[in-house]
Structures are given as structure tokens and as C-alpha cells.
Amino acid sequence: MSLIYNDSRIYCSDTPFDPNNINTNLTFPLSHLFFCPICQEPRATHQTSYDIESKFCANCLTDYSNNKNLTHCIKNCFECPDCHANLSITMTDHDNKGKSFNFNCVYCEYSYVTSVIYKPKSLHAIVDDEKRANPDSFHQLCDAIRKGVLGPEEEKSPVSKNIELMLQQTRRQEQTPTPPTELDLTIKSYPQARKLTTKTSHRCCKCHNLVLAYANDKTQPTINKFAVKFSAVDYLPTISISNLFNGEKFSSQVLKKWNGTTILMIHLINPMSVKCTVNISIPSSYNVAPEVNCKITIPLNQVTLGPTSTNLIKTIPSCFLTSNTPTGKRELILRKGDVMHKPPASFEEVEENLNNFVERGINWYSIPVIINLDGSNTFNFRLPVYITLKSELPDVLKKIPGHDALSVGYWNVIDLGSVSLV
């Protein structure tokens, strides 16, 4: 059972959810979401606004937070323009105290030698000067556009001027078509300064409440301490799917061949230190794919999940336990007893006594679901589940005014992968 490699995604958008036509671009894994304590809703990164709090070069660890306009390191941190690996820099002495610098990529065959310089200058200034002195066609166009925008003439607007320049360049290229190999030779690539790494704080776009902020600790830029952190994984239950019995691993990457009806297990795991009530609503019938109808039966719609425990093994549903390690095996025997050594129940037996196969643990519930598919097709099966969560406020959220309890409702889409009906 993995919380990172999980096929369950949450729908995050202001547009209403349509189970018959799921827009996967608006579904995100739980691990990628924030949680807004004011709106009490999961928030994807696109639903937050961000501010850059600090920036630094990961290579030389120089802090550039006070230099607002810098986006690249201005020290000797250069990367290869072809493969982004580091460049090793060596110096060669010449006559009259002249010096030249050699940049060699540590991964590919890229190398660059500067012209001989006689006055001390930073490596960035040397590379920038050479870029300006010998511009390639792309940089020439960039320069022309820059001049077009900043030029003193007022007869035409800068935008129309730039469009004209670009059209001229395109016409010129069309008139004298050059083979691509020749074109590549004319583009000269210079060593690139390393991009800076940023630390950003995020705010909910609806209520402007902080959902992520870094602590103001400037001792070492690589240390990340958070002053505010509201992640969805800390408040919303993890929902995952598996086969009915442990032993066979369920994978959405593998093509599954089903004969119309199948039984799977849905697992709900509470991450909070307080108990919560979860209501599960699955559309009773919907169009999974063209010409495929789906009917889902679930024996239990509402469950109460206990608070999470520090004893990690108790928080793992039985379906995910293995006998690969003595600890896992011990727990499996403790939970299953002699059932472990009996042959698994038949399909009909499970269908008749569905309630008997519901399992529960300290902070989790495993519920069997019967899926009836009608049609003959191969399709990508996504199971939409509407989750309503109600609980007391966890200690962290009690400090935030506005709510007496936690109440969240959202759509969770479980990706079951490719299914072929036989």
C-alpha cells in the first residue's frame, strides 16, 4: 500500500463534476494538494496564488532573496546548454598576461572557449560580452525586437513593429530555405548560468488564506522549515483499491480481463488524530465508456474511522499486509487467524454475504464493491466516488476561527486502468 504510488485522484475545479465525462486534467493525486482550512476544501496548485519568499543557487548555496530581478546565479555556476549538466571551468594563460577560460561539460561533449581577456572580469560578464559581440540569428532577432520596443519612433505601436520584424524574418527564411543541418551550425550555444531555486508561499485564491509558508530561517537555504503547512494528506482520507483477497497485487498499469462482474475492495484510511465519519456515494449507474454501462453495488455507505496511531502496522489494511517480513507475517496471522490457510471464498459466496467481507481496523475500513459492466469493449475504467467527511476539528485547525467542525465534500476518481470485457 503506497500513499505516493496511488491511483486515486481528487477533482479540483470550480466547474461541476460530470461522472459521464471525467476531465482528467482537473484531477490530482492527494499528495499534490493543499487544504484550505477556511474554505474547508482541497486546493490544487492552480487554485492558489504564490509569492517568492526566498531564492538561492542550489549549486553554490548563495542566497539571492534580496536581489528581486535575478533569476540565474551570478557566481561561477554554469550549466551545459545542451544537457543541463555542470560545466567544469579551466583557465589557460596567454602572452601579455592574457587569459582565456575553457568550459567543458562533465556529461556530454560540449565545450566552449572564451576569447583572450586582459582585464579582470567576472565569467558572466565575459560570456555576456561575447554573446553580444557575436549574436546568432535568434539573438539578432531578440535584439531587433528589443530595439523595436524601446525605439524612439512613435509612428507605429511597438507591437505592430515587432510583428513586422518577425514577419520580415519569416519571409527571409522562406525565401532562402536552408537545410536544417546548416541552420544548426549557425546557432552558437553559450554556457548558461544556473537557474535559482525558489521557496514559495501559497494562498488560497478564494479566501486568500495562507496554506503554505516557510519559517523565516535564513541560516542555510537548503533547510526547509514551514511556518504554515496545510496539506490535503493530513486531513482527507486516503482512498485506494485492491483485489478482494491479499496475495494478488492490483495494478492499474496491467490490462485486466473481466467477464462482466467483478468484486474489488475500497480502502479508506483516516490520517487525522480525531475520528471522522465518511459517507461514500458512488453513482449507481453511469456510462464508463461509449457503449459500456456500469452498475456498482456497495454494502456500506457510511463508516466511522478511528484516529490514526503511531503504530504504523495497525494503520495498514489487511489486504495490503504481506508475509515477506516476520512483522508483517505476525500481524497477518493475528488479524486473519486460520482463515489465512483456507482457500479463498468463491465469487458467489462473496456476492451473497457481502457484509461479511467488510473489514475494519484502528483508522481504516475496507469495503467490497461489486462492479457490473455491460458491453464489449476495451476501455480505461475510472470509478468516481463522492466523499463527504465530517469530524471534530483537529488540534491544528482549532486555532483558525470560523468553523466548529470539519466538513468536506469532494469527488475522488479511482483509476482502475485498462479493462477488457470478455
Partner: protein
């Protein structure tokens, strides 16, 4: 497929090929799977040439070979199948998926995920909270990772220690 278990909770496969054991330091609750190669004797040093923190999981066929500098691996690090590590420092809470190559003197900071088949070139520094994928010159990319991964990677490493 048998494991040797130590009092500190380490599980070491009997098929693992470990050389230079006096130069290797393993903290606690680590798993070293089948056919893992740990070469602690590639050079001599006063400090250990391979250091593993707690809850590290080395999957089958992965290889740790220090070349010029000692390899220091922090806690809660998962190294996938067929991955080769020569790098100098891997911090805490890092997942390196299968078929990756981590070259000499590269540094991976806290809370990073290195996706399957990634090649990290020499001396490259991966900033904290990064997701790295691809091969340099082809599709190499470093993206930001969500802060919730700090907790998730730790749980993942602990679960692997329990579930195998």
C-alpha cells in the same frame, strides 16, 4: 530468499554481495535485498566509505559503488531495482526509482523523487523538494515537489521495512 536479521532491525539478504564490511556503516531498520552490491573497499578512508541512515530500503540488483568520495545516504531513502549509485551525498527522505544512475560527486538534498530511468550527471546538485526525471541531453527535467512528500516518503520507507 533468506535474510539475516540484526538486533538493530536490519534485514540483509544472504544473496547480497557486500565487500569491505569494515568500511560500511548501517544504522537501523534497513533492508538490503537480493543481489544488492555494496562495495565498501573501492578505496581506503578513515571514515566509512558507505554510510546508510535508518529505514533505508535497497531493492534487488541495486549497486552502491563509491568512486572517489564516500557515499553517505541519509534516513528514509528508498533505492529501486537495478539502480547504480556513485554519488557522494543523498540526504533524508529520498526515493530513487528503478534503473537510475547517480554519478560521482552528485548531491541529492532532502525530499526528492528521482523517477525511473533517470541519469544524474557528475557533480549535479539536486535542490530539496525536487522531482527529477529523464536523461541529460534528451528529456532531463527538475520539477518542484509538493511539501506533503516529506511525510509520505517517510511513511513509504517505514512501510517497506514492515511489508518487504
Amino acid at each position: 530468499m533468506s535474510y539475516i536479521e540484526t538486533s538493530s532491525g536490519n534485514r540483509i539478504s544472504q544473496d547480497a554481495k557486500i565487500s569491505g564490511t569494515s568500511q560500511i556503516s548501517i544504522e537501523s531498520n534497513c533492508t538490503i535485498s537480493h543481489n544488492v552490491i555494496l562495495q565498501g573497499d573501492t578505496f581506503t578512508s578513515e571514515s566509512p566509505t558507505i554510510q546508510l541512515g535508518k529505514y533505508c530500503y535497497l531493492d534487488t540488483n541495486c549497486r552502491i559503488t563509491p568512486e572517489t568520495t564516500p557515499v553517505t545516504i541519509g534516513s528514509y531513502v528508498i533505492i529501486g531495482v537495478n539502480t547504480t549509485v556513485h554519488s557522494s551525498t543523498i540526504s533524508n527522505r529520498v526515493i530513487i526509482e528503478g534503473d537510475c544512475t547517480i554519478a560521482t560527486s552528485s548531491v541529492i538534498y532532502d525530499c526528492c523523487i528521482i523517477r525511473k530511468g533517470t541519469v544524474i550527471p557528475n557533480r549535479l546538485v539536486i535542490p530539496p523538494y525536487s522531482e527529477v526525471s529523464g536523461v541529460p541531453g534528451k528529456d532531463f527535467a527538475i520539477r518542484k515537489l509538493h511539501p506533503s512528500f516529506k511525510k509520505l516518503i517517510e511513511i513509504e520507507a517505514k512501510q517497506l521495512q514492515i511489508l518487504g
